[in-house]
Amino acid sequence: MPTTSGQLTAGIDVGSSAVKVAIAFSDGGREGKLVFKACERIRRRNVHQLVERMFEDACAQTQISRGDFAYVASTGDADAASFATGHFYSMTTHARGALYLEPKARAALDVGALHARAIKFDDRSKVLSHRMTSQCASGSGQFVENIARYLGVPLEDAGALSVKAEGCEQVSGICAVLAETDVINMVSRGVPTGDILKGIHVSIAGRLARLLRAIKVQGAMMVTGGLALDEGLVTALRDAFKADKGDPLEVVTHPDSIYAGAIGAALLGAFRHVQLQRRGRTLGGVEINSARNASAG
């Protein structure tokens, strides 16, 4: 169903623990609407097969054939989606996705399973500055997942328990692995589960707030990535900025914010498609891919 008034594009965001697929119908990536979205955890499966199958499912459910897409954009792990027309850096896709979901956002905080990234951008989603965690999982989603596992709490419930907690019990160190001993001690001392989770959220939020402050983010910031739906973390982030003087950072979320990367990729794909057409180049997947390989090499 390609029409002259817009482009149908897909974005595939391959993260370290989940794959997100979004399909958008947009006007060269500017105005548009989300047609389809899906998210699946990778667990121990083969990523290539999972990506292939999820895209197949997306096409089947929306009754769009592969040839109808003006552009299929990958982001995150580029190798996993070999059939994509082109690739975008996850920084730009998260910025674009966050701006699409919340027009007043001027920053995105992408909290994934292994890494967290603070991205500052302008009103056209151009990335101005960024900062990310590097060698350590202490500010990542895996930290929450591990603690939830030690506590025997399903990951989906961790946020709600943390928000309801009356107290807050922080672990002594920063290491996501050594925290296990602290947590076991807390449990044997009878500290409520919610208080322990709250402590973990506060500790992660403190580290993420430092990332955001380092790039001097102002105005509204959208939380994206897998932990965007963890209300415990979002609450802790709001608390971390509440005490700031002047204009405290506004922390915003959106029900679709975990798809921000995939949405951004789809929109940027449409934009690139229009740009290439304007330059009068034929849009052959081979040509784009070879261009990509040349720049990567």
Partner: protein, 462 residues
Amino acid sequence: MKVFVGIDLGSTTTKAVLLDETGQIMGRGITNSRSNYEVACAVARDEAMTSARFHYLARALQELNGPAADAARAFESRLLGAFRLELYLDELAALRARITELVETAGARAPLSVREAISDILDEMEQSAPSLFLENEGRRSDFFRDLAGAAFLTAAEQISSTRGLRFEALAWPFDRAILDIETELRELDFKAVLSRAARRVGAQASGDNSLASALEKIGHQHLEEASFVGTGYGRQTLPFPKAAVRSEILCHGRGAHRLFPGTRTVLDIGGQDTKAIQVDERGVVTSFQMNDRCAAGCGRYLGYIADELSLGLHELGPLALKSCNPARINSTCTVFAGAELRERLALGEKREDILAGLHRAIMLRAMSLLARSGGVSQEFTFTGGVCKNPMACRVLKELVDENYGNQLTINIHPDSIYMGALGAALFALDDWRAGEPHLLRISQQKSSGVSEREPSACVECT
């Protein structure tokens, strides 16, 4: 007779070493650390006292002559098994009482069918206990928690499937009860347990007087604790008198120096920290570097990897040794290494190759710690729980050869895990000689050692 006690309270295990007045090692004891640190210390010390007494018995039996001697010596090895069995049965009885109490007050959570099933599980555990100790099977662990846990879960699995009960409905009382049992202090009446053990293996029936008198002697042997020093991960939270506490660094340096007097560099890789220590010719620490902020490079790193692969910790090293083509691991963080492991497995790399790479990664962290502490000098001693891992030892040897030349002597002692406790006991002997001994007094308290610490206030929440 006087004994000098050193206790090393680690994050995973608690170790005790006993010395006599001349500084000879008399006994060693080890137990799992638990939330009540006092009880962990008391159990480790009791274990060490027991091992000291059996040490005496072995010596006394060696002096025996005549036809009875061989029989007596054969009997001795069985006696230790029987002694352990009696201790196990005592603990099991306490566990049974606690579990029964729990399920009787649980109401709807434990209907009659569950209560009966649990009672049958405990019967089954009692019946299978002798085979655990009296047959020459290699036990994976001597800790009650591990032994009873394995036995309970095996029996529970079987009974839940034959009677159509939910496994979780049978398993929860154990998890609750074991915490209480573990943190409760029980006095060890050595003489009574020994005579029960002797009766079990039929010592009295043999009518051998020399044996009976030797047994009588070790039962009566009075071991007087003359002085005590504590160290370890939990030293800040223990109710030890301040003067009876020495730092882990000092104790590990001293202990390693005692067993290997040529030692100048010590590497200790424990459960939650790694230490590189330089000592002088008298065993006094001159410089050290330590990592206890991050699990990368500690024993816990290997533990996490073992959990990822659903393997036992002791299986990692032998498996990694099979590798011909070790992988190059890029991650530092333990969590990232776990993710990299999953990724590499998904790409079809061999388990042993990835494991070999992970072992290399942890030892590289240790090497950088060693370099910062002042390098490796002749002789080099490797201690801590990780030195039980053959792959870790091999990689360390390779790395030391690569970086510091292959002229160095590397000491790895099978009892390396006791090094910290040995150092502490040596300090206890020093204190006694200087006329300033301290004693370990353990009071029966319900509260755990940790709870005595002020709960750390959370600034953000108040």
